[in-house]
Amino acid sequence: MIATENFVQLHREDNIVVCRKRAMKGLEIIINEQGITLNDTIDVGHKIACKSINKGDKVIKYGVAIGSAMADIMQGEHVHLTNLQSDYIDSHTRTGVNSQSKILHSILGKQT
């Protein structure tokens, strides 16, 4: 279990916990009786692994799969767009590879 006020586990089968209070880089937290130092600052609403997750494993939140790990994820690591992908439909960001950014690159005369 999580011995910190910064994170909350939503379901006992989850392999991630959700940040409910901003947690600064370097903060020591205890997950499953193991001390872990955060490598990144984690903002409210973001999630970290509370168990190690292998590439291809399902990431579990609310007790259900919310996608698959694209890389091995260590306990305490930020779980987000770089290591988790949807099993349904890709997510996008403002700067992601999509038609909008290609158009912008062509307007700005950059190589795509």
């Binding site: 409910r20 609310y62 997510s91």
Partner: protein, 395 residues
């Protein structure tokens, strides 16, 4: 006795006069009329397209006879494709005073604007004011999430779900929506359906949404969702889903369908047939408009990143999921659900607070977005086939 009894028997919680433009070319004149009336109860709505569309006609037909609406002024350029005669007929049948300004027949912008202002005064004077009580079993409440983040699904959304369960115990009608934001939740929703056939229809509706969004190239997932900690569509879906509470699902409706009886309804907002007109709903207010067209008196809007919108016609109660956002934008928020995360306050306590807000707003209390003058409205092209019989409960 704070509700308004309409001549067709429906009861509204506000007494709105609509000024409705029927093509973008009439938008400016319609806006000038509304601005010059300088009356918070005169709201601007309309449809920008010049090509006729059954969906747009259905939505505007339902909106001009919404129980919160007392009277209507239509603003037409004159040559557009919209079937304004059909709208006039709807208003007359629903006994709503209606006047029509046709700009090309009125001598242009200035004359049409002054005629429009007179028309607003005329229909307002012709609106009978009969105050009654609106019992909860006649109340329709819709819910939507906008600007969701990683807190939405663990604070504001389940609190709204708790409020929905309370309202449903009072035999109110509750609507949740955006099948594209319920991708991944289709099986659990199907299990909550009151009949097997309805469950199958819900699964088909979500699969349609998944296919539609795939063709569009984007899921219903904005960059701000990711900045707020959400990573995947199904993660966002699970959070959105919790707005629906735990009650059985009574029916599956399409935009503009009026629920035939009390209960919890899922609105299928994704067009039928081949993807034709682009994204199902281009922004949050498009979904709000559809729930209002289906009779919603009040909208519960949950937000994590911080939306500021309200709506024309029906009040929007904003429930803020993220405590940091609440501190930053409290002037726009009606309920702080972020305290669930920071102060260990239970979901049921905040759910009850939302329920009390619904009753207060029903009884006339203004929401923050109403006080700030938010009256957003958007209506675009879509196509639907009528709702099948297996989707609706028998009376």
């Amino acid at each position: 006795m704070n509700a308004y009894l309409r001549a067709d028997g429906r009861k509204g919680i506000r007494n709105i006069t609509l000024v409705c433009y029927l093509v973008e070319c009439a938008h400016h004149v319609a806006r000038k009329i509304v601005d010059k009336c300088d009356d918070d109860s005169v709201h601007l709505i309309g449809f920008s397209g010049c090509y006729p569309n059954d969906y747009a006609l259905t939505q505007l037909s339902q909106l001009i006879q919404h129980p919160n609406v007392g009277a209507v002024v239509l603003v037409s350029l004159g040559c557009e494709g919209f079937n304004r005669e059909a709208l006039i007929e709807v208003a007359i049948k629903a006994k709503r005073p209606i006047e029509t300004i046709v700009i090309q027949q009125s001598g242009g912008t200035l004359l049409a604007t002054s005629l429009g202002i007179e028309a607003v005064k005329k229909v307002q004077a012709a609106t009978p004011i009969i105050k009654v009580t609106l019992p909860l079993n006649e109340l329709v409440v819709g819910t939507i999430c906008g600007g969701s983040d990683g807190t939405s699904g663990i604070s504001a959304n389940p609190a709204v779900g708790f409020c929905f369960d309370l309202l449903l115990k009072d035999n109110a009608t509750c609507i949740f929506e955006e099948t594209g934001e319920l991708i991944g939740c289709e099986q659990i929703m199907a299990e909550r359906a009151v009949t097997v056939e309805l469950g199958q229809a819900i699964e088909r509706a979500v699969h349609k949404a998944e296919n539609y969004y795939r063709v569009m190239g984007y899921g219903s997932f904005a960059p701000g969702n990711a900045e707020g900690g959400l990573t995947t569509q199904e993660e966002k879906s699970m959070g959105a889903y919790s707005k629906s509470g735990n009650s059985p699902i009574s029916g599956l409706i399409k935009p503009g369908d009026i629920p035939p009886s009390s209960g919890l309804y899922l609105m299928d907002v994704v067009p039928d047939g081949d993807p034709l007109f682009g994204f199902p709903n281009i922004s949050d207010n498009a979904e709000i408009v559809e729930m209002i067209a289906s009779g919603a008196h009040i909208i519960l809007f949950t937000t994590g990143r911080g939306s500021v919108v309200g709506s024309a016609i029906s009040p929007v109660i904003k429930v803020c999921a993220n405590p940091e956002t609440y501190r930053n934008m409290s002037g726009d928020m009606d309920v702080n659900a972020g305290k669930i995360l920071e102060e260990n306050i239970s979901i049921s306590t905040v759910g009850d607070e939302i329920y009390q807000q619904v009753i207060a707003v029903k009884n006339g209390q203004q929401t923050k977005s109403e006080q700030l003058g938010h009256q957003e409205f958007i209506l675009t092209y879509k196509q639907f086939v009528p709702t099948g019989p297996s989707c609706l409960p028998t009376r």
